[in-house]
Amino acid sequence: MSQLVFWTLRRKLIAIVMTISALAVALASGATILYDAHRMRDVVHGDLSSLADIAGANSVAAMTFGDVTASREILGALGLKRGLVAAALYDRSGKLFASFGATARQTNGFPAWQTLR
């Protein structure tokens, strides 16, 4: 630290400018990363909500007539989306009606309807 006293003015100015620039870059990067992460979560949430709405709308008839096989087929189509590992349909009373994907062991069982609300 004591060596700084012997730095030339030019060197000191460069050091100050560099430090400020580095701080600014670090702050801007941090903000961008946080914003992107937040935005990505929103996009994934919106994407999954739309898919859930579509699958739900398509399952109305199957659920009305208690056709579990047809419901599973509809849910199975969701498997085409990369990264989507499991899906489940719950009836009005919150009982699990049909599910697709990961086994109960992998997902620790499908969550109770109450915890999803």
Binding site: N58, V60, A61, A62, T64, F65, G66, D67, V68, A70
Partner: protein
């Protein structure tokens, strides 16, 4: 939807059997997936008229099930008709009469008055009924005759057609696995 759980013998005497009750629920739910031609209903809240032709467990259960029900804004009205009575003003008819000649009369009356005909057994849809209920592997399933629906001016939702056991039509027919 498995037809399990036998009710107590005393209860069975009053309430319809499970199979009949499930079929009755199916009959009620079918109308949610059928579109009638323009003019079939006077107003958006005009009642939907169900007719029951013939007797039997499912007919009784259907009558019980439909009483005081509502489809969207439409209240459900149930009538018991004889096989040779006209079907004008009737939106859906459940037929439990199995006589071929009588069925033919009901089918032509249904086609003429845009009435959805629902019955039991594969033969019902093959002979010209729109929807036939049947039990397969202890599950209630149904066949649809799209030609009969078309003749009556009814549009059956593709979502309902996707659940059929078989579709009877002059252009395509087959039993789904």
């Amino acid at each position: 939807m498995l037809l399990t759980g036998a009710p107590a013998r005393e209860a069975r005497a009053q309430a319809p059997p499970d199979e009949a009750r499930i079929k009755a629920a199916f009959v009620f739910n079918f109308v949610k997936f059928v579109e009638w031609p323009a003019g079939a209903f006077q107003t958006p809240s005009a009642p939907i008229v169900f007719a029951i032709v013939g007797d039997g467990a499912t007919a009784t259960a259907t009558k019980l099930f439909l009483t005081d029900k509502q489809v969207g804004e439409r209240p459900v009205v149930v009538r018991h008709l004889k096989w040779d009575e006209p079907l004008s003003g009737v939106h859906a008819v459940f037929v439990s009469d199995g006589d071929a000649n009588r069925l033919r009369t009901v089918f032509s009356a249904a086609a003429a008055s845009a009435t959805l005909s629902i019955g039991e057994g594969v033969a019902f849809a093959e002979r010209g009924g729109v929807i036939a209920l049947l039990v397969e592997k202890r599950k209630v399933r149904f066949d649809v005759n799209t030609d009969a629906a078309h003749a009556a001016g009814l549009v059956i939702s593709s979502r309902l057609l996707a659940l059929t056991r078989a579709i009877h039509s002059s252009s395509a027919s087959g039993v789904r696995p």
